[in-house]
Symmetry: C2
Subunit: 499 residues, 2 copies
């Protein structure tokens, strides 16, 4: 029976790898295999079912975690360079907190079972809990980052890197401040982050909700359709204009002439020149919100120049952002060059009215912030490491303590204790009498740079052998100088996270 | 109407602060206020309800987060010093994975709502997901740490620091190794961790499940009652022997003479001497599992001596640990001295059969590991900081860039860009023309050590003023040497997380 189950597991796996094939025979085979799998499932009990993570989620193995943690470290150090504090909120919120914040996407919220208490749901993003936190604690200004997991009951296309549980990495500035000062710093932070991750080829698109509103008004869009048409414009990064136009004139019932006028605007992008050009557009300049938007963009551009990032910024009229809550500048970073297909890897904008939705007196706290698409960044970096034929180190061990003969494990423990006391990262085999070859192989497999080898002869002479793992060079070191010698060696090593 | 709501909020708050009062009048007033609150709730809609986190959960503010992150950093650096890798698993598991692992406590599991997919539940600890991960990926050896939140639908006594969402901090070694080598390293790690957190007064109690079984057998406990009686012994850290005895002879139907014999054993603790003493006990030595347990304890003790931690370890026969899955050595660290009432702050043991519960062929992977009671550690450290009259810095800003007159904000941005490029942690006010006093006050409030002050005169002379915030000393620095001068100053500062 166990044999049969095991066979079925292999077949079941194979089934999932062949679904891409299209011939009729393969389809029939697949169906049969599926039936067989179901049959065996019924017979086996629950053990086999257990061996998976929930749909749309995954474990992270040590290689993945090593990369993720090092990337997060870099990002956090940039957030801290800009003086950010950190907060944390519970993974679930009262359902009411989330209701009415995400529009259509509310159906993707994970509810908790009512077990005779409050009605709870897993957080969908970090922005709404942040706004709830500000309102609840009556905080009127803060600069904070928050890196944590969020949950969306999406139908994940996992090959595209979309999961139901994924990490968000947010930085926001809340407070009543002067125009564009916090906003431009957010762009500077995106710039610094992507540079620090060696993602040099990128572009930050910027736009302004007021300008978009002005354009819609100038084109003759009825005001009640602004947000709706904004959603259509938002699709332009993935969808050609012709299809977006069809949506506007079709289900969104816009006049063809109005759609065409929108089309002439949203195809434009550039830099400072575009601002000047739009200033000359008399029809647009009749719209107060367009003037307001352009003034803001001009100031933003000036600050971007001062922050020396304007060469990476594009003023793009087709940028709209999906979320309803944005009220001012909006932005989105995309990779260019080799990684052009990856899509948006950072985005954000100003949302001045969200905190007020939680306040009894509707007191608002103006906010601007950004979210790094950290999962996409991980995928890009993982691929780049693989392409370079490198491996990520999963530990930081500097010294492996090995023995060349039997029954020397107590000496290993004595040395390890000394090394740990001296803050040297060190490990040993948990076997009493491991083979020397196995121990040295472990060092090579894990990129451990140094090994100490204890032998009976050396022990008598008060010495140990110090081996450089990569070059396989060995020298003898007096036992009493060991820690000092190791410290020197370690400080001169170029410790790399890859090998 | 808004006025009324606001008044009620104040009253409602006051209601919650007066519940401790006991006079009848106060009770009646409270009842009335509660009714009034309910009335206004019905009229107001949901806004007011939103302003809380779910029962048993809390937000962490920047002060709390700064402490938590610095403590976790220290702990992780110790785990890494011992060569640990990191893994991560989803926050929820298929419900079946958790079923049948926690005994009575299974009722505390948070279920997710069935929204037409899999039946899911939030993880209850990190150990069961770890075992599932090992079995699923057929991993036979790993040394890993995992710091993450877990969920228990407990009725939290929040003043005692028990929450429904809390952080666990686990280190485990899985693999078929030689006796006590991984086990003793776990104790060494607990030792190093508590030392590094300046929690010098602690004691690590150790015991062995086999020895306990041997004692129960020697005392005449029927074998089917071993685990059940073990649970009773486990209560001895909080409950006097007389009550535990009553439970044993009462609901657990043990003979009084048997309970009394158990009592003579579990009152014993000591070091190596206790091992020797128990060896002389002929009746106990007739039990093979007692001999096995004592052999293990003897070896463990030897390794503890070699690891130079035996002065912090106590062999304690009353230590039993609640969880069923332990199969060998068990341990628990408690604070002594000033923090004696805090309870257990680390615990763990060997569990050799848990992974097998997930494997189709019941293949086991022996494991030993420990969990730091990190929430209790935070509470102790928070109190200690408060007692010393210190504040925790919530940012790491090294330099604040201030202006002394109006319209110098562009110069601030230029300088900030230079500082950030040089990796100096720096910030400014987001107001165009902030008052100098407000800017300097911000530095003092946040423990920022250095400030640059830009004035019109200095600007013309190509200079800036550099101020040491604490001493309020000011010097003039040529603008072109600014970064160099700051780097020197910063490297000579003793940057502290407290001020």
């Amino acid at each position: 029976m166990l044999q049969l189950i095991f066979t079925n597991r292999i077949l079941a796996t194979r089934y999932y790898t062949t679904v891409v094939a299209t011939t009729q025979i393969q389809k029939e085979v697949s169906k049969l295999l599926e039936l067989k799998t179901q049959l065996s499932d019924e017979n086996v009990g629950s053990k086999k079912h257990l061996l998976k993570t929930p749909k749309g989620t995954r474990d992270y193995n040590p290689e993945q975690m090593a990369l993720r943690l090092s990337v997060m470290d870099k990002i956090v150090s940039i957030f801290k360079k800009h003086g950010a504090e950190s907060i944390d909120t519970p993974i679930f919120e009262l359902k009411d907190v989330l209701t009415g914040k995400y529009g259509e996407d509310s159906k993707l919220i994970y509810d908790l079972k009512d077990q005779g208490g409050e009605i709870l749901a897993l957080r969908y993003d970090l922005t709404v809990p942040f706004a709830r936190y500000l309102a609840m604690n009556k905080i009127t200004n803060i600069k904070r980052y928050h890196i944590a997991k969020v949950y969306r009951r999406d139908n994940p296309a996992m090959t595209k890197g979309r999961y139901r549980e994924f990490c968000q990495c947010d930085f926001d500035i809340a407070g009543q401040y002067d125009p564009m000062l916090p906003d431009s710093e957010c762009l500077r932070i995106i710039y610094e982050t992507l540079k620090s991750l060696d993602l040099e080829s990128f572009n930050i698109k910027v736009n302004h909700r007021c300008l978009l509103d002005g354009i819609f008004a100038a084109c003759g869009v009825p005001q009640e359709k602004f947000r709706n048409i904004c959603s259509s414009v938002d699709k332009l990064d993935k969808t050609p204009w012709e299809e977006v136009r069809k949506e506007m004139t079709g289900e969104k019932e816009l006049k063809e002439s109005v759609a065409d006028r929108i089309g002439t605007y949203v195809s434009q992008n550039g830099g400072k020149n575009l601002i000047e050009e739009l200033r000359k557009n008399e029809e647009l300049m009749k719209q107060p919100s367009a003037v307001q938007g352009l003034d803001a963009m001009e100031l933003l551009w000036k600050y971007c120049e001062l922050y020396q990032i304007s060469d990476k910024v594009t003023f793009d009229l087709s940028l709209a952002r999906g979320l309803d809550y944005y009220t001012g500048v909006i932005f989105e970073a995309v990779l260019t060059g080799d990684n052009v297909g990856v899509g948006s890897i950072a985005g954000g904008g100003r949302y001045d009215n969200l905190v007020g939705m939680f306040d009894v007196k509707n007191r608002n706290v103006p906010c601007v912030g950004m979210s790094l698409g950290i999962e996409r960044i991980f995928s890009v970096l993982e691929m780049s490491i693989a392409n370079r034929g490198k491996k990520t180190r999963t530990t930081e061990v500097e010294v492996y303590v090995a023995t060349a003969q039997k029954n020397l494990h107590e000496e290993r423990i004595r040395i390890l204790t000394e090394l740990w006391e001296a803050n040297i990262k060190a490990e040993q085999s948990y076997k009493k009498n491991p083979k020397l070859l196995v121990q040295l192989q472990h060092c090579e497999d894990h990129g451990i740079p140094l090994a100490i080898i204890i032998g009976e002869g050396e022990l008598k002479r008060g010495e140990v052998t110090l081996r450089t793992v990569k070059s396989r060079e060995e020298t003898t070191v007096p036992r009493e100088n060991l820690v000092e010698e190791l410290k020197n060696r370690i400080s001169s090593l170029e410790l790399s996270a890859e090998y």
